[in-house]
């Protein structure tokens, strides 16, 4: 556990310290959250609940896409992964540490996005607008879980595949995850009503996906990673 946290601390620190990356990520967050809130004309708790449900989840997942390139791919392109593979860490510990390292800053940005939505809605509404309780659960549990799922899946693929395959498959994965999430929300009906039931299902789905991706890491091996270093 300590080694996972050591890796996570290093990766999260490097992301946060990278000014250019953080400025870009923050810009995307502000644009996503701000334009969506203003465009929807959200007023009242229920209305921003639906907005947070969609926009913040997608923002968090998108951040995991941006950061995974910095964490998994960069270590591979710089060749430092080979030295890391010679430490006493198991492949799963390395993977898990990096996933946690991506999830933390991506989640912080998702929280910032939530703050922007609540802030704009409060200004428009001329009073503090708070999201309903299930949406708070969504922000506290479902969003970080989906960020971790996306980071875990991307990290797994980036470790497993060569650079060329990664360029194609990463895009497919991230837009696949976002599309699936949006489609599910769309199928649930116009103006998703975020209730305890929806959140319960999402928590279960996120837990199942995390377990699935964690299980898939058994197919990672050192040779595969070393021979796909560019």
């Amino acid at each position: 556990m300590n080694t996972i946290l050591t890796v996570a601390r290093k990766e999260a620190g490097l992301i946060i310290r990278s000014r250019q990356l953080m400025v870009s990520a923050l810009f995307v967050t502000v644009i996503f959250s701000g334009t969506a809130t203003i465009g929807s004309g959200a007023e009242g708790g229920a209305s921003i609940g639906a907005l947070i449900f969609m926009v913040i989840t997608v923002t968090g997942i998108f951040m995991s896409y941006i950061f995974s390139g910095q964490v998994f791919l960069r270590e591979k392109t710089e060749g430092t992964i080979e030295t890391l593979l010679c430490t006493p860490l198991s492949l799963r510990e390395i993977w898990a540490g990096k996933v946690v390292g991506i999830t933390l800053p991506a989640y912080l940005l998702a929280l910032a996005g939530t703050g922007i939505i609540v802030g704009i809605a409060s200004v428009v509404d001329r009073g503090i607008v708070l999201p309903p309780a299930p949406v708070v659960l969504h922000v506290l549990v479902v969003v970080p879980a989906f960020i971790a799922v996306a980071a875990g899946l991307l990290g797994f693929v980036q470790l497993l595949l060569g650079m060329r395959e990664n360029q194609i498959i990463n895009m497919a994965i991230i837009f696949g995850v976002i599309f699936s999430f949006s489609l599910s929300a769309g199928l649930a009906g116009e103006g998703v009503v975020v209730g305890w039931g929806t959140e319960g299902v999402l928590v279960a789905v996120a837990a199942a996906l995390l377990a699935l991706v964690g299980w898939a890491t058994r197919f990672l091996n050192r040779e595969r990673i070393v021979t796909t270093i560019p």
């Binding site: 300590n2 080694t3 050591t6 290093k10 490097l14 060749g79 593979l85 006493p88 050192r222 040779e223």
Partner: protein, 308 residues
């Protein structure tokens, strides 16, 4: 006691055989040098030993175990590969601290301080590694590799990109680690001078096969050493030439005035001297010239290329 055992190691990539039946062993405290041209299979062999590649046949064991299946075992080795494993975006101190945490080094801060002092980078401890010169990075990389006091150290081209002074520092460091800490060191290198100075045993690899494997001393004094004999007069020299030409274990003989030179291929010098004396040669001086590792290396590589 053998710390590393490599037996009948074979590895191919996309049908191309890179390692063809490699066998050698490394004893505790030995400094083992791997020599060979680019593409000979040195890095692939090291990766097999480190458990980064799975052999197609044969095995590469460290401490009697396969590194690929034992995470705990990797805590007993130190590694400096071609890429030094340092993050450009962390300072020297942060890089060392990170690895110290991963290896569970006790007294972490003190050890990091010691290593920085050891590699002469204390004053740059708070500088980002991305701003370091190649030499500084290499020094810090070596510091990182020995941070947790490993029992076996694997170094891939440790002095690549270093200035002569830093190369000397690396050589001294390897010698000290072997002598004082009884650390076993495996060095992949193109730097023949470095290998000759620090390694006790050498394997010369070419086209995936070991072409020579022995102690440096035995390689240098063994097959191929040259003996120069100064005789008192020309007729003695001609007799000596005839004796040496007829002797077994002599690869080539030449004469220049009163001096006769013979390149040995298994013959020992006292036997040859006795034979010349018995033939009535008036010997004034006998000098055995050890071949440098460079000469041995080039001859082995040329021989291998010739037979290919």
């Amino acid at each position: 006691m053998d710390i590393i055992t490599v037996e009948n190691l074979q590895k191919a990539f996309k049908g191309r055989a890179v390692l063809k039946d490699i066998t050698f062993s490394v004893k505790k405290g030995e400094v083992f040098g791997f020599l060979g041209p680019n593409g000979a299979g040195k890095t692939t062999t090291m990766r097999c030993m480190l458990g980064l590649l799975r052999p197609d046949a044969g095995e590469a064991l460290v401490f009697g175990e396969n590194m690929a299946v034992s995470d705990r075992l990797r805590g007993r080795i130190g590694v400096l590969l071609e890429k030094d494993g340092l993050s450009d975006r962390l300072t020297a101190c942060e890089n060392l601290d990170y690895y110290a945490r991963l290896y569970g080094v006790s007294g972490r801060d003190e050890r990091v301080r010691e290593i920085l002092e050891f590699v002469g980078l204390t004053e740059r401890k708070d500088s980002l590694v991305g701003t370091f010169s190649t030499g500084m990075r290499r020094k810090l990389g070596i510091g990182r590799a020995i941070l947790h006091n490993p029992e076996v150290l694997f170094l891939d081209e440790p002095s690549a990109g270093l200035d002569p002074e830093a190369q000397r520092m690396v050589r001294d460091l390897i010698a000290d680690l072997s002598r004082e800490e009884e650390m076993t060191v495996v060095v992949n290198s193109h730097n023949l001078d470095e290998v000759q100075r620090v390694c006790s045993t050498v394997a010369i690899l070419h086209d995936g096969r070991i072409r020579a494997f022995d102690t440096v001393e035995r390689l240098r004094s063994g097959g191929g050493a040259e003996v120069r004999i100064v005789l008192s007069d020309r007729s003695s020299a001609e007799r000596a030439l005839a004796v040496l030409s007829a002797a077994t274990g002599v690869a080539a003989v030449s004469r220049e005035g009163e001096e006769v030179s013979a390149r040995l291929d298994g013959a020992d010098v006292p036997t040859l001297v006795r034979a010349m004396a018995e033939a009535g040669c008036a010997i004034e001086e006998v000098r055995k010239d050890h071949r440098s590792l460079e000469e041995i290396y080039l001859s082995v590589v040329r021989q291998a290329e010739g037979s290919a």
